[in-house]
Each structure stands twice: as C-alpha cells, then as structure tokens.
C-alpha cells in the first residue's frame, strides 16, 4: 500500500511539475523567433510599430524564460528524486541525450539571454541580433533533444538489454526513432500556434480597452496570419502523428478512439461518450458511423485496434486508462478546430476591402470575433497540455514502451514526504501562475495608457528596448 501511494503521488508530482514547466517553453520557443521577426522588420522598414511590438513582447519573453528556467531546474532533479529506477535501467540512453541538451542548448540560451536582454547598448547591433537568434535557436535545440528522449520512450529502438540494463547499440536509430519527427514537428507547430494566439489575443485585449495604436493592429494581424498559416499544417501533422501512433502504439489509439471491442472495421468516430472501465463500453455514445476507420485507414471498413485486444489471458489490463486519454484527445482536437475557425474566419472578414479600398483594417473585424480572440490567447496552453496528456497517459502502463513499467521506476521515499512536497509545489505554482498572468495583464493595460512602460530599473530588459527606440530617434546609445 505504502509503495502504491508513493507511486501515485510521484506520478502526480511529476505530472504537475512537467505540466507547469511546459507552459513556459511553449511560449519561449516560438516567441524567440517572433522577437527576431519584430526586430528584423524594424531594421528593414524602420517603422516604429515593430519596435513597440518588440518592446512589449521582450518583457513577456524575459518573464516566461525565467519561469521556464526555474521549473526546468526542478525537472532535472525530478528523475533522481522520483524515478531512480528509470535512470538505472535506461540511463545509458537517456543520460547522453540529456547531457547533449545541457551542453548544446541550455548554456547557449542561458548565456546569450543576458546579452539579448541587457546588452543592446554594449554590443554592436549585429551581435545583439545574433544573440537574439542564438536564444531562439537554443530553445529550439532544447526542444529537439528532449523530444528525442521522450519519443524514444514511446518508440524505443537502437539498444540491447544486458542484465536488465539498456545499452545503446546505434545512436542514429535512437535519435531518429520512428515517432521523433512527428512529435518534434507537432510540438514546434504547437508552440508557434500558442504564441500566435497569445500575440493576437493580448493585442485584441488592448484594442478592446481602447488602445488603437498602429502597433496593436499590426500585432493582431501578425498573430492571426501566423495562426491561419500554421493551423492547417498542425492538423495535417497531427493526423500523420496519429497514423504513426497507430503503427507503434495501437493501444493508445484504441483509447483515443474509445474503441472497446472489435467492430469488424467500420469503426465510428465518437464525438461524445463516457468511457466506462467497469462495463468496458461507452455510455451515452454519439458517433459518426465508419468515420474513424476512414480517418485512420482511409477506407470505411478498415480495422482499428480495439481495447479488448489488450487484456491478458488472466485479465490484466495492458492498455492505458481510457477516459483520460479519450477526453484529453478530444480537448486538443476541439481546440485545434476552434483555432481553425477563428483564424480563418477573422481573416475572411479582414480580407474584404474597407471603404477606403484597403484590406486588413482591424475595424472590419466583427466584435464577437475580436472578443473571441481574448480568451483564445491561452488556447495554445489548453491544446498543448491536452495533447501531452494524451501522449503520456496513453503510454501507460509503460514508462518506456515495452521495456519498463512505470511502477518499476519509482523511488523508495515515504509517501508522506512526496505528498508534502507535492502540496508545496502546487501552492507555489498556483501563486506563480497567478502572478504571471497578473503581470501580463498589467503590462497590457499599462501599455494602453501610453505611459513609459516601467520606470527605468537597472536590472530590467527595458533598458535594451529603450536604447533601441532611442537610436531610432537618432540619438546615440546612452552611456
């Protein structure tokens, strides 16, 4: 009983920590590239509105980055404190991947963020742009390595087991494991979408508050345009990802589709249901006949794995908990289609010419769409978390698919200790999330009043943006 409690609590603690961590990288990965975009647009056009966009978003970046770093440091201890069995068994593979992440990504971003935030007046402009690029590149490299490791846990290959310990035989096969390209692409696109909607949503919020500056309008346009470009690709990538999962982790797909028993192909696409683990069927099912077969196998009679196939002779269940996977998946896909509707719908209105014959006038945007953008500012977070829950819970009961079970990795720490630290983390995370959102809203409302964004405080990134704006006014960088 004791061990079981420790197991469950450790899982909740790990899930809480990684869920909190992922919120911030999801923003910084793409926001780094957005900042580079704003800076380059400013350099090419000399239009101040791009600098204002940079000024605003670099603050959000600095804040998100700090949150990402501190929660990431927590993550790097979690494997040792909660899952010592994981490293003992697959450390020979996980270790080098994590080491490469630290060496090639973390140092790069940690060093150059200093220059990017505080260095503008001290380094030549090209070096500042390079630093901005290297930070964005570093966050992307982080993503690459951690996704390699995570994907290897889903589709392990390139190793052999000697005395119960995994030994690498082929690093190329480990890094380019079958699900890695799909997961990496899907994650990077998710980050791009998160930031697109964040930029559009916060700008819409400022617009509604009466902040009609050119930069606000441009930010709505940029956000919506990137969102509209990325979402179809994301849906396509998600579909490909699903097909890949069908090949390698059929039990996960069966859970996502809520497909309990084999229906001789002809599997319906379930829109709503309450999966019931007791009776092993769905309550209150609403479904489109044959649709799942069509999506996953591209013809109506295609057979789809059923959950009943993953129950051992003795009744041991070898598939993941169905309701969580089923619902997480629907939340993600639902959010994805909401994103599609909103971005394309808004662009369709913007495309129509205004009276003066110009396109893309924000005032052509109907109120409901404009207002809709505001809550959608955080839609990327919702979809990303839901997607990761689908992926990770869908891997259970395995920690490394087919190689080691989650229960085999847990640490031998008293449950009370795990519980008390878990509560500690939750309290801190809740408070920080509250403060984080509060500050973003505060920055948005303050920007609207047009007052100086903050009084000049030495340790802040304001210094840079001010220096840039100064230079734009034809002044030399201040001492």
């Amino acid at each position: 009983m004791e061990a079981l409690d420790t197991l469950i609590l450790s899982r909740i603690q790990f899930a809480a920590n990684i869920s909190f961590h992922i919120l911030f990288p999801t923003i910084t990965i793409a926001l780094g590239w957005f900042l580079l975009f704003f800076k380059l647009r400013f350099q090419w056009t000399g239009d101040l509105k791009w600098m204002e966009a940079y000024r605003f978003w670099v603050k959000v970046f600095a804040l998100s980055f700090a949150m990402g770093v501190v929660s990431g440091i927590t993550m790097s201890f979690q494997f040792g404190t909660n899952w010592p069995g994981f490293m003992e068994k697959v450390g020979n593979i996980a270790g080098p991947l994590l080491a490469y992440e630290v060496m090639t990504a973390f140092f790069l971003e940690a060093v150059f963020i200093g220059i990017m935030l505080f260095g503008y007046s001290r380094v030549p402009s090209w070096l500042h742009t390079t630093a901005t690029f290297l930070v964005a590149f570093g966050t992307t490299m982080s993503t690459f390595w951690i996704i390699v490791l995570n994907s290897w846990m889903h589709t392990p290959q390139g190793f052999e087991m000697i005395d119960g310990v995994a030994h690498a035989t082929d690093w190329w096969a480990i890094i380019f494991n079958p699900s890695m390209p799909y997961r990496l692409a899907h994650m990077l696109l998710a980050s791009g979408l998160t930031v697109s909607f964040l930029v559009a949503g916060i700008a819409a919020f400022r617009y509604i508050l009466g902040d009609r500056k050119e930069t606000v309008r441009s930010q709505i346009r940029v956000g919506l345009t990137f969102a509209a470009l990325l979402i179809p690709i994301q849906i396509f990538a998600g579909d490909m990802h699903g097909l890949n999962t069908l090949e390698h982790q059929p039990a996960k797909v069966a859970a996502m589709e809520g497909n309990w028993s084999d229906r001789d192909g002809n599997t319906p696409l379930i829109l709503f249901a309450l999966p019931n683990e007791e009776t092993r069927e769905n309550d209150f099912e609403i479904a489109i006949p044959n649709m799942a077969s069509i999506i996953l196998t591209h013809h109506a009679e295609g057979a789809i794995p059923a959950l009943d196939d993953f129950v051992a002779e003795d009744g041991t269940v070898l598939h993941p908990p169905v309701d969580k996977v089923f619902w997480s998946f629907r939340v993600m896909v639902g959010t994805g289609f909401a994103m599609l509707l909103l971005s394309w719908g808004s662009l369709a209105f913007l495309w129509r010419r205004a009276e003066d014959g110009r396109r893309f006038a924000i005032r052509k945007l109907p109120r409901p769409l404009l207002w809709g953008l505001v809550p959608m500012a955080l839609s990327g977070w919702v979809a990303t978390l839901a997607g990761w829950y689908t992926t990770e819970i869908g891997r259970q009961p395995w920690l490394v698919n087919g190689v080691m079970s989650t229960a085999g990795a847990v640490a031998d720490v008293p449950a009370g200790m795990v519980l008390s630290t878990l509560i500690g983390y939750l309290v801190i995370y809740a408070a920080l999330l509250f403060a984080y959102l509060g500050v973003i809203i505060y920055l948005a409302t303050k920007a609207r009043h047009g007052e100086p964004l903050t009084e000049m405080t030495p340790a802040s990134s304001e210094a840079v943006v001010d220096a840039i704006a100064r230079e734009d006014r034809g002044l030399t960088p201040a001492e």
């Binding site: 770093v69 080491a99 505080f118 720490v413 000049m456 030495p458």
Partner: protein, 339 residues
C-alpha cells in the same frame, strides 16, 4: 579502441567524468555562490537604488551560473546513475528546499521590476528568502554528504553548522563580487560586509576540516597516515596565506582609482577552490561516501564515451561564450538609465 594509455575504458572514463563533474560543481559553487551571496546581502542595502544596483550586477549572469548546477546534476545522472538515485532520494527534502529557493529567487529577478510598484517590496523579500533558502539547503546537503548521508542528531547538527558556514561563505564571495562591480557607497559597504564575513569563514572552514577526519576513519587515514600530510600541506598553508592576504587587503580598501578591486574576488575564488580540492581528495574514489565508488557506479563506457566526444567540443565553446558575456558586461555595473 576506447582504451587510453593502456588503461581500460571502465577505469579512465569514470575518473574523467568524476573530474568533469567536480569541475562543474566547483564552477557552480563559485559562480552561483557569488550571485546567491549578493541575494543574501540585499536586505543590508542602503535604500532601493542600491538594492537595484546589487541585483543589476548579477542580472546578466545568474541564469548561466545556475546552468552549471544543471550540468553537474546531469553528469551525476549520466555518469553515475546508481549514485544519482541514492543521493537524491536520500536528500529528498533539502533538494525540495533548494528548488523552492531557486524558483523564488529566479522569478523575482523579473517580477520585482515588472509587477506593480506596490509589490516590489514583496518580490525583493522573496528574492532574499529564496537566495537564503537555496544556500542553507546546499550547505545542509554538503554537511550530510560529508557525514556519509546518515541521519543522526550529530550529523544533523554538523549539517546545520555547514549550512551556516556556507551562508557566510556565499555572502563573503558575494561581497567581494560587489567590491569588484560596485562603486562608491555600495563598494564601501561591500568592503565592510566582506570584512565581517572573514571571521565566520575561518570558523566554518576550520570546523569542517576538523570534523571530517574525526568522524571518518578513512579520511583520517588519507590525510594523516605516513607522509601524505607533507604532500597535502600546500592546501592548508595556501588557505591560511590567502585568508591573511584577504584580511590585510580588505582593511586597506577601497583604494584610489579603484586599484586592486579585483583582488578580494580572485582570492575568494582561490579559497573556494582550495577548500574544494581538499574535499575532493578526501572523498576520492567514493561518489557516495563509504558506500559506492565512482568505478562501481559508472554507466556503460560506450555511453560515457559518446558524451565525452561531445564535451570535448562543446565545453570549450561554452567557456568561450561565457567569457564573451563577462567581457561584454565588464567594468562597474551601470544603472542603465536613458533619460
């Protein structure tokens, strides 16, 4: 193919990785040491502006400094997985305190200047509290580690002593950093802080040096059997010389034209390095004291080798661009004002 000078891979690789891990722990202790130390000193600042200045002196560096901790834990995890699990699950609670401390201070850098002005005091307070928590936790873990990761009243008392000693140590190196980076009033204050810390430092280093050989027979053997103390004597002797040098330099600071402002910081680096070498000598070849040697705990040679290849290219690059960052932000910290 992986043999080196006739040593088989499972002998030299663990040794090299223990060295790499030691290097990153040492760099972490020195680098994050000074910035945690500055955090501990913030409540003593004379007014808000001075406090801003102190935080500004570490603003561009703290993230990279903490990354050495991630690398050290990463190397422990990568190279000695068995030890990693053992150490971290034993130190579960202090690690939690350390992490909470690092979280609080890390986010305060940003929040203190971005949140509404009326909350600045709150975030300043959290910045201090986080720095202190992280430092105490590190000292406590060091103490327990020296005591062989056993929990008894004696070891806990010793660990508390270490926690206090490390707090003084970090405050000291933080003060010497401020002597280097600060000017005028701030610099004068920093000199006073540094001078006050020296006494605590002597007590702390002394207590740890005395206690370790007394509790551990093995360490006693390593230091005092045969002629070894002769070879080892440079460590304590150099430390004493450095302490004396620090004391006399600090009593004459600050000097005109800011001459020699770098001396206290560099001497503090030396002192930390010597203390670290002493500890490293005491523990070799153990990674978990008295329980697990680096050779028993090491992962498979082929995995270590692939990391080493990368490290040979990447670590010099990291050191290079770290140097670039220190070069870019050289000289006295400026209050970056643009009006």
């Amino acid at each position: 193919m992986m043999d080196l000078f006739g040593y088989p891979a499972d002998t030299w690789l663990p040794f090299v990785f223990a060295g790499l891990m030691g290097l990153s722990i040492l760099l972490y202790v020195i680098l994050d040491g000074y910035d945690l130390g500055v955090g501990i000193l913030t409540p003593l600042a004379d007014g808000d502006e001075q406090k801003d200045m102190m935080v500004a002196s570490i603003g561009p560096f703290w993230d990279a400094n903490e990354t050495w901790l991630v690398l050290a834990v990463g190397l422990l995890l990568v190279a000695f997985p068995a030890a990693h699990g053992l150490i971290l699950s034993t130190l579960y609670l202090p690690v939690f305190v350390l992490l909470v401390g690092l979280i609080l201070r890390g986010v305060s850098f940003e929040f203190r200047v971005k949140a509404r002005a009326k909350y600045k005091g709150l975030w300043n307070g959290l910045f201090f509290a986080g720095s202190l928590m992280a430092t105490l936790a590190q000292g406590f873990m060091l103490g327990l580690y020296i005591m062989g990761l056993q929990f008894t009243t004696g070891t806990i008392l010793f660990s508390i002593l270490c926690a206090l000693a490390l707090t003084v140590g970090y405050a000291f190196i933080g003060a010497t950093w401020l002597i280097l980076k600060g000017a005028d009033a701030l610099q004068r204050r920093a000199v006073a802080w540094a001078r006050k810390c020296i006494g605590g430092l002597v007590v702390g280093i002394g207590a740890i040096s005395l206690a370790s050989p007394l509790v551990s027979e093995r360490i006693w053997e390593k230091w005092f059997s045969g002629t070894s103390i002769l070879y080892l004597s440079p460590l304590p002797v150099l430390s004493l010389i450095l302490l004396w040098f620090l004391w006399s330099t600090l009593s004459r600071m600050p000097k005109e034209n800011d001459r020699g402002a770098w001396k206290p910081f560099v001497s503090a680096l030396g002192l930390f390095t010597l203390a670290f070498l002493g500890l490293a000598y005491s523990f070799y070849p153990y990674v978990v004291p008295e329980q697990l040697t680096i050779y028993e705990a090491a992962s498979a040679p082929e995995s270590l080798f692939i990391i080493l290849i990368g490290a040979c290219f990447v670590v010099p690059t990291i050191l290079g661009y770290t140097a670039l960052a220190y070069w870019v932000f050289r000289g006295k910290t400026r209050a970056l004002r643009y009006d």
